[in-house]
């Protein structure tokens, strides 16, 4: 079947571009982390794979094979992404359901969203491109909301300034992070920064009401993540950060269509 981009609607193009970029990125991440996952998936999925009569590493390699395969066949067999999600869940179960201990919790944060994105991509034939794109965008934004809710679950105590000082200091001591201590060296500044972190996270549902507001939130969160990456050395771009590719794909498709319109006018 010949792929002709001119016949695609904009949401179909966005989803197509996103699935290419996202699958390539996750494949690369998994491949890069092979040694790490080989050591951690055995206890994670041992019971599940034993019941299937398969070695855990076999499932991992099957996942690595299936991602590019789904990428090639998604036009006809979009449900293959569901199989990827299932394999991902089996392999990285302890991360996806946050059972691997607090020291690996950032891994949980990273892997859980990949599982859900694969699952969302598997529904594209039933839901259509527009709704699948909406779901992926929703997954990205709702993760910030969940983070915000987790912070205010104990009341407003998270914004006491000490909390941010403690976390920044801990990262600085563990990883020699630049600027971390300077940023929160004053308690009042730490309090203000705490509110600046939590408020957008709590207010993110507003992004679903207005497109411009959605872009304001997305760009703000993206900048916020870059700051976190630099100041706290948070490895946000691994797995989790690739979800931003949905917005990147939107921008690229918009530019592509604009250039096509210009050409047709000429």
């Amino acid at each position: 079947m010949k792929l002709n981009l001119k016949n695609y609607q904009s949401n179909e193009l966005i989803l197509l571009l996103f699935s290419w970029l996202y699958a390539a990125a996750i494949f690369w991440e998994l491949h890069r982390d092979t040694a790490f996952h080989m050591n951690s998936i055995n206890p994670s999925c041992g019971i599940m794979t034993a019941s299937l009569g398969v070695h855990p590493n076999g499932i991992y390699y099957l996942l690595l094979t299936l991602i590019p395969l789904s990428l090639l066949l998604q036009h006809r067999f979009a449900w293959l992404w569901g199989v990827c999600a299932a394999l991902y869940f089996i392999c990285l179960r302890d991360f996806v359901i946050c059972q691997s201990g607090p020291e690996r919790i950032y891994m949980a944060w990273n892997h859980a969203i990949v599982f859900w994105v694969f699952l969302a991509m598997s529904t594209q034939k039933i839901l259509g491109a527009a709704k699948t794109v909406t779901l992926i965008k929703f997954l990205l934004l709702i993760s910030y909301f969940a983070g915000g809710i987790a912070k205010v679950r104990h009341g407003l105590e998270w914004m006491n300034g000490w909390t941010l000082q403690y976390y920044f200091l801990q990262r600085h001591i563990d990883l020699n992070t630049p600027l971390a201590v300077e940023m929160v060296s004053n308690l009042q500044t730490a309090k203000i920064l705490s509110w600046l972190v939590v408020l957008p996270e709590i207010l993110v549902p507003l992004a679903f009401l207005n497109k411009r507001l959605e872009w304001v939130f997305v760009i703000s969160f993206f900048i916020f993540q870059i700051i976190c990456w630099y100041v706290l050395k948070l490895k946000w771009m691994h797995y989790y950060g690739w979800t931003y590719l949905i917005y990147f794909s939107m921008v690229l498709v918009w530019l592509f269509q604009k250039s096509r319109q210009r050409k047709s006018l000429l």
Binding site: P102, R153, Y167
Partner: protein, 142 residues
């Protein structure tokens, strides 16, 4: 919207919202303990550091110095309550042998210091340093 579409679409959204709002452990995307637990006023966070004591100055080991010999703070941190533990000496002696940082001369001694950073009464972060142990370089390089 056909019924199946609606069930999948709103079901997907509903699950995420419920998981975000309710603290259901064992459910993907429901737990963010990494930075979510509030902390009360704390005394400070400590770490151990190594310092090279020369005649004219004292040079603190950088992170690169530690990593170049495969040493991390955590390994020393394990002995923070008993810095005179013979294991501390063994670890440092072993790393001294493998480091390439003393090409311009060796220090007189290696110091193990405890660096504590924490807020003062007004909430400003302050760093204090306490020398826990000083070991002659000659002893270490035997």
């Amino acid at each position: 919207m056909p019924k199946l579409q609606a069930v999948i679409f709103y079901g997907f959204i509903g699950i995420q919202l419920v998981a975000a709002v309710l603290p259901i452990r064992d459910w993907p995307l429901t737990d963010y303990p990494m930075f979510s637990y509030p902390r009360k006023e704390f005394f400070g966070i400590s770490r151990l550091a190594l310092e090279d004591v020369f005649n004219e100055n004292v040079v603190t080991w950088s992170h690169a110095d530690y990593s170049s010999v495969g040493l991390n703070d955590a390994k020393l941190q394990a002995y923070v309550n008993d810095v005179n533990n013979p294991r501390v000496f063994e670890i440092i002696a072993d790393k001294i042998k493998h480091t390439g940082k003393y090409t311009n001369g060796t220090p007189n001694a290696i110091r193990v210091t405890k660096i504590t950073t924490g807020p003062d009464s007004e909430g400003r972060l302050k760093t204090t340093k306490e020398v826990l142990r000083e070991i002659e370089f000659k002893e270490l390089s035997k």
